[in-house]
Symmetry: C2
Subunit: 384 residues, 2 copies
């Protein structure tokens, strides 16, 4: 992707660029000036911008533009008389002169939606491997980015080990449940998770805003009958809902649900967010779904409440469809991680004889993605 | 708010309710059944729902409805033949048969937008007071909910004390900067915050997703000339932008900006979110603004990039308007807290003689609001 031509247009307000492969793109003078890479604009050490938008002249224009034989772009801006340069590849990676994403519910190419067909190839690694081999860690984290979940074996069955795993690539998010929490049947449970009941596929803590973006659940003991874990790609369920019933998809994106939790003394968490969250450009951002903590919905206009419930029911049916679920039974020393903004998890009920002891913790997906991006940059597997 | 009448409509699909003050509202049968308060529907201890939407008959209808002399509503549902009851007040608090919020950028009544006029009445408390008096803690937290910031005095000037304050009502959010971080001039700063430069009003870490929703900044030493702190209500700036230039407001809500940070080894954080975030119902949810970490915008269609920059500039001008800013200079033993989804903070540059040492930490607003809701429920100041 080497630049070959640069032509100033619109009296300096715009630049037409052409690359060796024939690709063309327009760039605005103000955008180029704001993103200048010189050491007066960007701090050389940490890369942060030293100027504000108000430091730039409102009438910034291109005065001169040329491409060197190696494809380096040299620009001079009026009225500052400032000269700056851009590498070909840097610009090629940031072309914004392209069609906007069309429609609602699209996802990034790094995301692959899946169904029960993923069962034979559940993403999996061993803790020893990802601890000692940075590329293996990258592969495992990339699976979490792609599929929204992964399994890890070889985890010590010591209390709190789940936090050590999270801290290898992200930061633990402490909540009212603690830095980590025990998941086992209790006599007076503050949460139905702490019983031997089955739990419908759900995302955790939708009554929190923001929700925890990652959850890790590690198994310390599991000698009970039942208690299998299921995961369901919420984004796949959304895709099916959108295909089968676009009006129902719209209802669940356009109106907020409510969630709450007040199971412990001093805790009264509440959130108002849609079941299916889209960005302003229609990107599918998050799914929230949890029958236990769904509160009374009060943000749906009355004439739409029954249709909203029909859509909620249909979405629940899709989430419960075995054709979408991947199932596994955690053994002691295994954990799974889910992207809690996308993948729902469930557990089957279990017998009260034997013992089942999991420990969970929450962590931040942005930390995971940051570690992954750093590994990819080190290995040169993606442009930095 | 005592119920006086209940009338079944639409062959049992709907209920018309009338309260003693003349208020009327319709409720859908499916909504009433889903929100039943009986111990088979809701776990008595923790209040969580025991059933899923799929446990409810699709053809749920009201079979009988009556109001007791005290205003208690008794209902029987077909086809289950199930009888449940609702208190008058519980229903009155959850009326959804009302006009939907109209327009974009509205906020909850608990939020009060402010400008420089707030200067003489900056919300403030002392640590000793909020530690020993739960009502005083409630008042201080309510100020954070209302204004998006508050000052606290009497904080020990010992390292890490800022976390102790956060933990009194919320949970610390650990990041790559640690559980807490020092803010003082450094030789090779990983972030421009760690210099003596002035910092434009900003929200912290917009390159994180989700962003930290609370920030606390505590002062341990401050003998420099300059270094004053400013806070600006981002929601007020949005209000002014919307009033003066609705098209520019729309541009900043409809298109995503990008933010990134790669100032430390192993860290490559990136986020794609709008400067002004609205919920699906137009509620103003969050502001993100930070010149240092704004990345190249690539999600704005090329023909709109120049207008987008004009809107960005106008928004920055409003944020920099002294008519919007509240200013104070932190003394050792003082801290301020900001709602980082709403209130921007800035600092003026400071002289290199003398010492200025702050410590910051992030925490979760949902935890703060949960504590506040619990205090309000204890004191009966709001309906529980």
């Amino acid at each position: 992707m080497t630049l070959t031509q640069a032509a100033i247009r619109e009296a300096g307000a715009m630049l037409d660029l052409t690359w060796a492969d024939g690709r063309k793109a327009r760039f605005d003078a103000i955008w180029l000036r704001d993103n200048a890479l010189d050491p007066e604009t960007r701090a050389p050490g940490n890369g942060q911008r030293l100027i504000t938008i108000l430091d730039l002249p409102d009438d910034v224009l291109l005065d001169a533009a040329s491409v060197s034989p190696s494809g380096y772009l040299n620009l001079t801006f009026a009225p500052e008389g400032k000269s700056v340069g851009f590498p070909s590849a840097w610009l090629a990676q940031r072309i914004y002169d392209r069609p906007a994403p069309s429609g609602q519910g699209w996802t990034d190419p790094a995301i692959e939606r899946w169904d029960a067909g993923l069962q034979p190839r559940v993403p999996r690694a061993d803790l020893a491997e990802i601890t000692h081999d940075r590329a293996a860690l990258g592969d495992w984290l990339a699976a979490v980015r792609r599929y929204g979940f992964a399994v890890l074996g070889g985890v010590p069955t010591t209390s709190g080990a789940v936090c050590d795993v999270a801290q290898a690539f992200a930061y633990v998010r402490e909540t009212n449940y603690g830095r980590w929490f025990d998941v086992r049947a209790e006599v007076n449970p503050s949460n139905l998770a702490y019983t031997n009941l089955g739990l419908q596929a759900h995302t955790d803590n939708p009554y929190r805003d923001p929700v925890p973006t990652l959850q890790l659940l590690a198994c310390l003991e599991n000698s009970v009958e039942g208690g299998e874990s299921l995961v369901v790609d919420g984004f796949k369920a959304v895709e099916r809902l959108q295909a089968e019933a676009p009006v129902q998809f719209d209802l669940l994106t356009r109106h907020c649900a409510r969630f709450d939790y007040a199971g412990s003394k001093g805790v009264r968490l509440r959130a108002k967010r849609p079941f299916i969250e889209l960005g302003p450009d229609g990107e599918l951002i998050a799914v929230r779904f949890n029958n236990r903590s769904a509160a009374a919905f009060v943000d749906v206009p009355q004439p739409l409440m029954r249709p909203f419930y029909d859509a909620y029911r249909r979405f629940a049916e899709l989430i419960e469809d075995p054709a979408l679920a991947v199932t596994f039974k955690l053994a002691p020393g295994e954990l799974f991680i889910v992207d809690n903004t996308r993948v729902l998890h469930a557990r089957k009920s279990f017998a009260s004889s034997g013992s089942r002891w999991l420990q969970g913790c929450y962590a931040d997906k942005d930390g995971l993605l940051s570690t992954l991006a750093a590994i990819e940059a080190e290995s040169g597997s993606v442009a930095s």
